[in-house]
């Protein structure tokens, strides 16, 4: 109960900021609607982050500070993508560069205390592959018919699992930051489904960057099991599996969300199994 009380203010603020921006940008500012999802997620997360952990300094000192800046980078990346509209190959290369840089930055302490340069860069490239995979999967989900609603329902399940697993891994702070993402994803999902079909885009980049940052922080700096982190990163691919004959959009959405929910549930179960009792 105490935990919910702690999580509520930041989640509520993030949801309110995301909803306001999502609605205004997507509905009233048509030219920017291609990156409305990114702006909503980025600004919502920044507001929630400030309430949970304070404003992050620049240059950042810790992985938690980087999560704040990843949201900013995600919004800028999505806005640039919406403006330039590059072809698929250039987008992939750009994302790969952004994801590799993000991984390198968040893993700086491991370079300082644990790894030599070669070992470190091997880790960075391997992890960046996973983050690019996560970004590509979320982007592909968004581009499908009924995509934004599916993306936000998948994001809700993914962030809910991440939140639970991070709390079980010993970090309430990271759990609260994941909870901020849940609030934003739920709000955006409700806005899309309640206010009618429209297609605000660009949510995949900030969502995957912040989510990947949380998972990396959980694995390297808390006690999130490696198998859980890997399952979370790969789970969105479940939403892209062929479902046979397409039926109603809602049924398809439910099936795609459920196919992401299965690996997410396994990841949470693994984190639960690895965690000591939460009570003192």
């Amino acid at each position: 109960m105490q935990l919910l009380k702690q999580m509520l203010p930041s989640a509520a603020l993030a949801a309110a900021v995301a909803a306001a921006l999502f609605f205004v940008v997507a509905r009233r500012w048509r030219r920017a609607s291609r990156c409305a999802g990114a702006i909503a997620i980025g600004a919502g997360y920044i507001a929630g982050h400030v309430l949970v952990a304070g404003c992050a300094p620049f240059p950042p000192r810790s992985a938690t500070h980087w999560l704040f800046w990843f949201a900013v980078i995600g919004v800028i990346g999505a806005a640039a993508d919406a403006l330039v509209r590059p072809n698929g190959r250039i987008r992939l290369v750009t994302w790969a560069i952004i994801c590799t840089t993000a991984c390198r930055l968040i893993l700086q302490p491991k370079f300082s205390y644990a790894w030599n340069a070669a070992e470190g860069w091997l880790w960075v490239f391997a992890i960046a592959l996973g983050v690019v995979d996560l970004t590509c999967c979320l982007d592909l989900i968004e581009r499908r018919p009924f995509g934004p609603a599916t993306l936000f329902s998948v994001a809700t399940v993914l962030c809910a699992g991440t939140c639970l697993a991070l709390i079980l891994s010993g970090s309430l702070l990271l759990g609260q930051l994941a909870c901020v993402l849940i609030a934003i994803a739920v709000t955006c999902f409700l806005l899309i489904t309640v206010t009618g079909p429209f297609h605000p885009g660009g949510a995949a980049v900030p969502l995957s960057l912040v989510c990947a940052g949380l998972l990396l922080s959980g694995f390297f700096y808390a006690e999130l099991p490696a198998a859980s982190a890997l399952l979370f990163a790969l789970a969105p691919a479940g939403a892209l599996l062929p479902l046979g004959k397409e039926s109603s959009p809602w049924r398809t959405l439910a099936l795609r969300t459920a196919s992401v929910g299965v690996p997410v549930a396994i990841a949470v179960a693994l984190a639960f199994q690895a965690s000591p009792p939460l009570a003192y």
Binding site: R61, S62, A63, G170, F220, Y221
Partner: protein
Amino acid sequence: MKPFTLVVALVSAFVLSADAADTFKVDPVHSFVLFSVQHLGIANTYGRFNDIAGTVVFDRDNPSKSSVELAVQVESLDTHNSIRERSLKSPDFFDVKQFPTMTFKSTKVEGSGEMLKVSGDLTIRGVTKPVTVDFKKGGEGKGVFGEMRGGGETRFTIKRSDFGMNFELGEVGDEVTIILSLEGVKK
């Protein structure tokens, strides 16, 4: 004795006698870093760090030439409860995997006799802040193996939020009282 050897011996003797400072290596077995912090505004919770290392240079004739350098391994945190330690070592508080060491390096030592005012840079979680503490000098004497020992103690208060430790400021107090008791072996 050759003249050159004589000169070297005389110069060495002068240099050694001019340097009245004693260097003590911190004895981790007889040194303690204890802390207390309010929990829920109800009572204090206590803890300690078991791994401390460092050097104290003490010049009794001119204390301003003294210096202190200490390093504490955060992983050695001990609060008599492994679940609380897990939480304190996590990114929520000390973030031990990103910031494994806390350090103190003196910049100025003032005073004479038993009480010294030691100013220096305290680094916790990668944030360095200046602090000034009143250090009460203890006694000096010989250990069981004939080694020369010296020590002292200080008690001071810091705000954890000054060092970027902002999480659960309502539930866990902001002010942390630190007791540092040092015993060193003369080199």
